[in-house]
Amino acid sequence: MRKHAKVRGRWAAWITGLFVVFAACDLNVKNPGAILDEDLNDPGLMRVVAAGVSAEFSDVVDGIAFTIGRLTDEMVGSGSYGDTGLLRRGIIRSDDTNGEWEQTHEAAWAAESAIERFRSVLGQEAETSPFTARSYLFEGLGHRILGEVFCQVAYDAGPAEPKSGAFTRAVTSFENAIAAATTPESSDYKTAAYGGLAQAYVGLGDWSKAVEAAAKVPTGFVYAAIYAVPENTNVVNGETHGRPEMSAYRTIAASFDPPDPRAPFTVCGTLNASNRVVPTGACSHSQGASGDHTPHYRQEKYDDLGSDIPVVKGTEMRLIEAEAALLDGDLAMFTGKVNEVRTFHGLSPIAQPASAGSIRDTDENDAWSILDRERWLTLWLEGRRLWDLHRWNHPFIEGGRLVDKYPPDGLRASCFPIASGECDLNTNLQCT
């Protein structure tokens, strides 16, 4: 009996000891590979935070350029993605705009939250920091993109607003960028912000302020969303050089031989008498995957996965000035501004058109047709064409004279609907 008691006592102690061992086990683990939020509150890391805003912005631009390329007359969707078949028919659904809507809002939000961190970590120094100026610039560009691309906008889970809601916010952001850009390091950000301001005022229909801001941007100035290999690669390059997802076949670009320097392309395949694509041998892909055997005319504007995409250009500013002159009926000024752009690109100047005409005229030589063509070529594959189709009520949206050879179902989309993800989660929105 005593022996049993002794044994029981021993194993009870053993069990107790094991439980103590288990209880003492520390389950806390710190895994490498992630950066904790509080670890970023270091003045030396503000450059990295600011670069993150740039990364978020770059995420937006190439995707929008790719989608708009297929939706408008910039390119013909010739690939096999699910949305390509719809986009080439001029259809874009709210289910298909979630990426663009979320990423653009996130680009603006990331800029805003970075600015808050700069103020919290750098104090007063943040007000004139190049990081702050640049982040405001990205915030403004995010708003400008929302305004140009989406039919309506919404902020902070609020109700739908007209496009002007985004352009007004863009103006505030660009003005903040200009105010913060006080150092030589911020010089490009300031110039880009003036360009953004001009774009936003075009959106608001305030042409005098647009021209005033545009004048501060030299013709040769370019501010771009930055891409690099292997991270942050340019989707437009990947989808045209890596695969034949869209083609310049039967576009304005293809009507130039040799190609216009603003819209360069390579003919990878041609159609033979049997309507079959014959490879030229210039590329690894000669035709798209779409059912009508579209030859692949490969864009060369972005000839590398690391090619940057312009978002503010002096040449666009000259065309804004040209459009303002055209609206004023000043054809001489219009011609001069167009020729500044053409001369910059090494092209011969145009003669002053005989008449202003209208965007709906079939005359290719009137002023509006020239402006249409010059903006098409100058801003090719930069995600801007849809906005021009929308604000000009361009005849392309009624029939697709260049790309879509099939009878249209109705009007082609000239703007993106608010994304279904926003419709589902924003109780202040009623999406139809």
Binding site: L18, F19, F22, N31, A55, G85, D95, H105
Partner: protein, 536 residues
């Protein structure tokens, strides 16, 4: 192209058992499970799909350490018996991955990662540590009724900082009713069982913390972007299950049966709660919010209709149902088109043609709920015939029904005018004969009018998984061999289905029950295997 994979897997452990008194048993196990693999995918310079070549090398290591202690104290008094169990476990799981990719080689040769011009590398090291205790009491009555109650407490390194231990109770009973005198002897052996319990599923490694991930911006300069909002209150999903069942044997073991009905409710399901993107970010926050219901039955029946000296024939049937439904998502009606309250998880929501029979009209599409993405009913039929105790024929067939699957190869093949079921319609389109065509025909086969959604279809099927003929060679035929068997097996002989894709059970995506479709899949190959097994 070279595709090589080398896998090393070692499992080792040490176990100690100690019975300080005959009624007390204790065991302590320490285990190590180690696996490493090296995958090399090399496309040399000049390869048709990557003209300048590329190479990928993926190295993985998984190391799981286990410390497991359990003890039991058995006692009995009169018609009652008792078993008190206690114990605890500690797990340490470490995973390491190193992935290298390189492309655009300067020229031919056996290139390695680092020899190309576009390099990409990734490293991941994650550790999850968990531990828990349990206490369990079983009480038996006359060796035929057993009632067990228990509780365990678990902790995980992936729980939020403000979340403590998770508690999981359980209760079960088993009753061998055939041992009772009132039970008719003709009904053989029968056991009734019921169980209720709670189990948990921990969140993943970084779910609880607000973290940023490193990326590159501004021409390969370091940058950070938000990766996860984090939630310090994050805990495990809790699944509560109630199960009833009966099992038994009849006719001297020639009929065996088993039936189970289960009703599982997952509470505090881990849901990544998104906010309206206009609030600023697309990142969602993982919360313990959702409720998911999972109900079904499992039925097994094995019958031996013939049992003779030189002939035996067995037939088996298995049938199961599993119907799930999202009950709640913290007030949200949907997270995505495939995750919606009141629908199965995931549900297929896709385009249908509203006017399929309209002649000469273009198709008009409308999105509709079609049904579950995973089968609601599964069944298996098997039979075995054994002759002269040497020759055996085994057949195994399996079927699934109730699910919908997107036929991606069909859609993309149709768009390229290379999908056979569309050849006739596409010939008519080419000849301009669309006026007599229905909207349904154009929706399926006109590359410029079709929509991917209409290629989503029911994927019910029955497959003959395998047919095996085995012959045990006469003893002594092969010198020094104890026995030898010659086996001819055919796999995937045929499939009965109306699904027009390549494989009605394809899973591209679909990890952990998420939406799946058929896209980048190869169907299982029909194969024939001739095998000789010799034992010495």
């Amino acid at each position: 192209m070279q595709l090589l994979q080398e896998i090393n897997h070692y499992i080792t452990g040490v176990g100690v058992t100690w019975n300080p008194v005959p009624s007390v048993m204790q065991r302590l196990n320490v285990g190590l499970d180690y696996e490493s693999s090296d995958l090399q995918d090399f496309k040399p310079w000049g390869y048709f799909s990557a003209l300048e070549g590329d190479r990928e090398d993926d190295q993985l290591q998984d190391r799981n350490l286990t410390l497991d202690y359990a003890g039991t104290w058995n006692a009995s008094r009169g018609v009652f018996s008792s078993a008190l169990s206690w114990g605890g476990q500690v797990y340490d799981e470490f995973s390491y991955q190193l992935n290298g990719f390189d492309s655009r080689f300067a020229g031919p040769g056996d290139q390695l990662v680092g020899d190309g011009t576009i390099r990409d590398v990734g490293e991941s090291r994650t550790r999850v540590r968990s531990g828990g205790f349990f206490l369990q009491q079983m009480v038996g009555f006359r060796d035929r009724l057993f009632v067990t109650g228990g509780v365990r407490w678990d902790g995980f390194s992936t729980f939020g900082d403000d979340f403590g231990l998770a508690t999981y109770p359980k209760l079960s009973a088993a009753y061998t009713v055939s041992d009772e005198s009132f039970f008719p002897s003709g009904l053989g052996i029968m056991k009734l069982r019921a169980a209720w319990g709670v189990a948990g599923k921990a969140p993943s490694v970084f779910d609880a913390a607000r973290i940023y991930e490193a990326t590159a911006a501004d021409e390969a300069q370091p940058a950070v972007i938000l990766a996860n909002f984090g939630n310090p209150d994050l805990g495990p999903e809790r699944s509560e299950e109630l199960e009833f069942g009966v099992e038994g044997m009849l006719l001297d073991g020639r009929v065996a049966y088993e039936f189970t009905r289960f009703d599982q409710t997952t509470k505090d399901a881990l849901i990544c709660l998104p906010q309206a993107p206009s609030l600023g970010t697309e990142e969602c926050t993982l919360r313990n919010l959702g409720e998911l219901s999972n109900k079904g039955i499992e039925l097994m029946l094995n019958v031996t209709p013939v049992r003779m000296e030189n002939l035996e024939w067995d037939v088996g049937v298995n049938y199961g149902t599993n119907k799930n439904e999202i009950m709640d998502m913290g007030g949200l009606s949907q997270l995505s088109s495939s995750v919606q309250v009141g629908q199965p998880l995931p549900v297929v929501y896709d385009d249908r043609v509203v006017n399929p029979d309209a002649v000469g009209e273009l198709p008009v599409y409308e999105k509709r709920y079609l049904g579950p993405n995973y089968p609601t009913d599964t069944y298996a039929l098997s039979t075995r015939v054994t002759m002269f105790k040497r020759l055996t024929l085994d057949l195994l067939g399996e079927g699934q029904k109730g699910h919908w699957l997107a036929n991606g190869p069909g859609y993309q093949g149709m768009r390229r005018t290379s999908w056979p079921t569309c050849f006739a319609i596409q010939d008519r389109i080419k000849n301009g004969d669309t006026s007599t065509m229905t909207a349904g025909e154009r929706a399926m086969c006109d590359p410029n009018r079709s929509d991917q959604g209409v290629w989503t279809m029911r994927a019910d099927f029955f497959k003959l998984r395998s047919a095996t003929l085995a012959y045990r060679l006469p003893e002594g035929l092969l010198p020094v061999a104890t026995n030898a068997t010659l086996r001819l097996q055919a796999r995937n002989l045929f499939t009965i289905t109306d699904y027009t894709g390549l494989d009605p059970e394809a899973e591209d995506g679909g990890a952990a029950g998420t939406y799946r479709n058929e896209y980048y899949n190869l169907p299982p190959a029909r194969s024939f295997i001739l095998q000789l097994t010799v034992n010495f």
